[in-house]
Symmetry: C4
Subunit: 204 residues, 4 copies
C-alpha cells in the first residue's frame, strides 16, 4: 500500500468516524495534504461524511481547482481548506465541522477551555487548536482533537451550570500536548474504527 | 416510475427519516399535494411514521374525504392538512409534528430563531416557516426544515442557558434561504435515507 | 390463544418496550391482574425487564404468595403490586419503575403536570395517574402512560429552565383522557413493538 | 473453568459493559486482584475497553511489573492499580474511569451524593466508594457501582437545576449497602451482558 493509498483510506475512515461520533451530521468535511506533493490536498466530492467512499476523494490544487474531477461535484468550502494549506505549511489535515456542543459557545462568545486530560489537545483556548505537524498520525490527530473538542464543550456546558470551573492549568495543557502521541491516539482510533465499522489501515 | 409513484415513495421515506431523526415518535405525519391534481393530497392511514409503507398512503380531497379508503382508517388531523393546501396553493408538502426540542419554546412562549447556517431555512422566526414552492424537492425540503428546526431548538436551548445569543441577521437568513437548493438538500437526504434504511428514489 | 396466553405475551412485551424506551433499566417491573381470577396477578420472576420471557411470568395471590414457583425467585416488590390490586379493584395493571426524568421531580418535590397532548393521560398531577379500568388494553395503557410520563418530565425540565410554562388546562386534560382509546394506544404499541423486536399479539 | 479463567472472562466482560454503558470511552480500565495470589493483579494491555479480549489481559506485580508481557504494551496507569491493591488488602477490583456526568462535579467541586436506591452503593459521599470485600462478585460489584455512580451524577445535575434535593439519609445508605448482594447485582449483570453481547460466565 502506497502512502497515497493509505491516506485515501484514512480520509474515508476519518469522515465515517466523525459522523459516527456525532461531530459532523450531513455536512462537514475532512481533508489531508497530499503525501507526495505539498501543493495538493485530498478532499471528498460534495457528499455527507458517513456516505463517503475512496472513489469520492478528489485531488485539489491549493487554489481549490480539481485535478481530475471526472464529473464529481466538489464542496464549495474547498477554498477554505486550500487557503489553510497555503498559509500554513505545517498543517497536514483540516477538519471543518459544526460540532453540536461547540456551537452554543460560538453564538454566545463563551470561552471554551480544556477541563479534562483527554481534551488538553484542543490547546489553551480554542482559536489556537488548528495546527499539527507529524505526518502519519496527521489525520488521526485531527480526528482525535475534533472528538475531544466536542466532549470538552459538552462537559463544560454542564459544569458552567453548576459553578466555577477549575480548568487545566497552562502548564498542564503544555505537558499533555507535548506527550500525546501514537500511544493514546491509536488506542482511540482502533476503538472509533470498530464503532464506525472500518478496518484499521496500516502503512504497507 | 411516474411522478405519483415517485411521490408515494418520497412520502414513505420522509416518514421513516423523521422517525429515525427523532422529529416524530409514534405520532406526527407528512403529506404531499398530488402531483397531477392540486385538489388532492397524499397522506398515510393512521399509523406510526416508522411503520408506514407505500400501501398505507391514501388520497384525500382538500375537504379531507378519502378517495378510495379500502378500509384504511385515516388520521383525524387530515383536516388540518387539507385546510392548508386549500388556503395556500403555493404549499406542496406539510409536516405535522411535536418535535421534542421545539415544545419547550411552545409552552413558554420563547422565540425560536436561526443561529446556525444549516438552520436558516426555518425562516426569520418560526411562525413563517411553512411555505415551499418548488416541486420535486418539495417533500425533501419539508423534511430538511423539520430536522434543522429540531437541531436549532436544541442548540438554542443550550445557548440560552449560557448568555446572550448572536443569531443570524435577517440579511444572512434571506441569503441562505435564497441559495439553499438540491446541492444541500440532496446531500442530507442521501445521508438520512441511509440512516433510515431507505433507498434514494429518482424520478424515472 | 386464550385470554391468559394473550396477557402473558402482553406482559413480556410491556417489559421489553419499557426497557427499549428507557423507562426501566435493569430494575422495574410490570404486572397484570389475572384475566380469569381477580384474586391473582401475573408478574415476572426477579429478572431485568429486557431479559424476560413468557416462562418467567409467575402467578401470585394478592398477598404475594407464588401459586407455583417452580424454583423461580420472585421480586421483593411483589407485595406492592398485590397491595394495589387488593385496595383497588378497578386497577388491572401496575408499572413499578424509576423513570429517569421523573426522579429529579421526586427528589426536589417539583410538580409534574402535563404540557403536551400525548401526555395528558398522566392525569392532572402525577399522584393520581395509577388507575385504569378497561380490560384488553390494560397493559398497553399502563405502558402508554409510563412512556409519556417520562416524555413529559423531560420536556418540563427543559421548559422550566426557560420560563413560565403554560400547562394543559384541567378541561383539556379531562377531554383528552376521556377520548384516548385504542386508536392512539395501538398506534404507539405497534411502533414500540417494532422497536423492541416483538410481534403485536392479538386476542385469538 | 478455574477461578483464574473465570476472572479473566469477568474482566473482559466488565470492560465491554462499561464501554457499552458509556462509563468509559476509548480510555479507562478495570483490574482485578489475582484469585490465587494476592500479590498480583490482572489488567489489560493498553487498549480501548470495548476492544479488549482475554488474550489482552496481563498479570502484574503490585509494583506494576508485567509477569509475562509477551510484547504487549501495558497501561501507564497500572501503577495506580498496583498502589491501591498494596495499600488496601480488602480491595479486589479497581475501575479507573472518567465517567462523563461525574466530571462536572470534579471540576466544580460539587458534592456527589446518592439520591436513588440503586445508587446508594456509591456510599455516603463519593470519596469513600472504593472498597469491596466479597470475592466472586468483586468485579460485578465494581461495575455495578461505576454505572450507578454515572446514573446518580446525571440525575443529580438535573435535580440541582430544579431546587433543593432530598438525598438518601445516612441510615438509608447504610441499610441499602448492607443489603445489596447477588440478588440485585446479578440481575443487572445479566442485562448488561446481553446489551454488551457477552455471555454470563459461571464459576465452573
Amino acid at each position: 500500500m502506497t502512502k497515497l493509498e493509505f491516506l485515501l483510506e484514512e480520509v474515508v475512515t476519518a469522515n465515517r468516524i466523525l459522523a459516527r461520533e456525532g461531530v459532523v451530521d450531513s455536512f462537514g468535511h475532512v481533508s489531508a495534504r497530499h503525501p507526495d506533493n505539498p501543493q495538493r490536498f485530498l478532499l471528498s466530492r460534495a457528499r455527507a461524511p458517513d456516505c463517503i467512499e475512496v472513489g469520492d476523494i478528489m485531488e485539489f490544487t491549493l487554489e481549490g481547482e480539481a485535478v481530475n474531477a471526472q464529473g464529481r461535484a466538489p464542496y464549495l468550502e474547498r477554498f477554505i481548506h486550500g487557503g489553510i494549506y497555503e498559509a500554513r505549511p505545517d498543517v497536514h489535515s483540516v477538519v471543518h465541522n459544526h460540532s453540536p456542543s461547540v456551537i452554543p459557545f460560538g453564538v454566545t462568545g463563551g470561552k471554551l477551555k480544556p477541563l479534562l486530560h483527554m481534551c488538553a489537545n484542543i490547546g489553551h483556548e480554542v482559536p489556537i487548536w488548528d495546527s499539527y505537524d507529524k505526518f502519519g498520525d496527521t489525520v488521526r490527530q485531527a480526528v482525535f482533537i475534533s472528538i475531544y473538542l466536542e466532549v470538552n464543550a459538552k462537559l463544560q456546558m454542564q459544569a458552567m451550570a453548576m459553578g466555577d470551573i477549575k480548568f487545566l492549568t497552562p502548564g498542564e495543557v503544555d505537558k499533555i500536548m507535548a506527550r500525546t502521541g501514537p500511544y493514546s491516539i491509536n488506542r482511540a482510533w482502533e476503538n472509533w474504527c470498530r464503532r464506525a465499522g472500518r478496518l484499521v489501515t496500516e502503512v504497507g
